[in-house]
């Protein structure tokens, strides 16, 4: 499934939140990528934001879960850092009123030597 549009101002609140969270998480040096798959993405109209699940919390806000593939770093600190980054990104996007709990899950680990080498 292709990624959602890169413009975070497009789509529903869920997709916009997911997009902001994805971008914020990938900014952290300890994050290699986000874990994809149908159960770990937020979809709308046949397009999906991989690695972030945004679900209605029932009180008008949205619960957000980020699924990381991390480098071998201190995972507790990484999780807290990513969450802080997501919160800052959501605030900058003016979506703070829509956001509920933010969960971070480290789904996998990838050491530097396991990363694909860039093409010469």
């Amino acid at each position: 499934m292709p990624d959602a549009p890169t413009d975070a101002s497009e789509g529903s609140v869920r997709v916009r939140l997911a997009h902001v969270a994805r971008r914020a998480a990938l900014c952290d040096a300890g994050v290699v990528d986000l874990a994809g798959g149908p159960l770990r993405s937020t979809a709308q109209g046949g397009r999906a934001v991989e690695g972030v699940v945004v679900a209605a919390q029932g009180d008008g806000c949205h619960e957000l879960t980020v699924h990381l593939i991390a480098r071998p770093v201190a995972l507790a600190e990484l999780g807290r850092r990513v969450r802080a980054g997501v919160l800052a990104g959501v605030e900058a996007a003016g979506l703070m009123g829509e956001l509920g709990a933010v969960h971070v899950t480290v789904a996998g680990l990838l050491a530097d030597e396991q990363l694909p080498k860039p093409a010469a």
């Binding site: 991390a70 201190a74 995972l75 507790a76 999780g79 509920g100 899950t105 480290v106």
Partner: protein
């Protein structure tokens, strides 16, 4: 362990049942196409002889009766296992950081094993490490088998690896146990 097996069993059974449902649907479709009477005649012809033989064997006692009883008992046990697997609540397998309020910071067991092995492999003299994490009633356990080269003091290696694991074990409340192993078996460091 049994609970872990029942979930996948229920999912496989659901898949098989869906296949059977599709087969029934196909049969109904064929029946609708060739006419119900013709379809029933065809099915009757195909099954009559086999069913007759089976019923004769059953009525006469002997091996057929025992086999049928075994199959019936097995089916009952399988159905019970599938029902338990389908109805049992799936536990989150992530290891969570405590005291995070409404939010959660969790690590999947696979990632936790990988980081523990990576940390252990950084200790002096370690040639390979394998980690296991297990949720237990008395608190989750982290066990690391660290293979080391000759001339390394196991006690010192155990202390070194344990201290390196602290960045993972302490935040997640894991009880770390390190087992040094001299050479031989174990995954070699790259």
């Amino acid at each position: 362990m049994i609970a872990l097996l029942l979930g996948p069993l229920a999912r496989v059974s659901a898949f098989v049942l869906l296949g059977l449902l599709a087969l029934v649907g196909l049969t109904v479709a064929v029946g609708a196409a060739v006419g119900p009477a013709t379809a029933a005649d065809l099915a009757q012809l195909a099954a009559r002889d086999a069913v007759d033989r089976f019923l004769d064997g059953l009525a006469g006692g002997g091996p057929a009766q025992q086999t049928t009883a075994l199959i019936a008992a097995g089916t009952v046990v399988l159905c019970l296992a599938v029902a338990i697997g389908a109805l049992s609540r799936r536990r989150s397998r992530s290891f969570l950081l405590p005291d995070e309020g409404d939010a959660t910071l969790g690590v999947r067991p696979r990632a936790l094993r990988a980081i523990a092995a990576h940390l252990a492999e950084g200790a002096r003299g370690v040639t390979g490490a394998r980690a296991r994490v297990r949720p237990r009633r008395r608190g989750p356990h982290l066990r690391v088998d660290a293979t080391h080269s000759a001339g390394v003091e196991p006690a010192a290696l155990r202390d070194d690896v344990t201290s390196r694991l602290a960045s993972v074990s302490e935040p997640f409340g894991l009880r770390a146990r390190v087992r040094p192993r001299a050479g031989g078996r174990g995954r070699r460091a790259a």
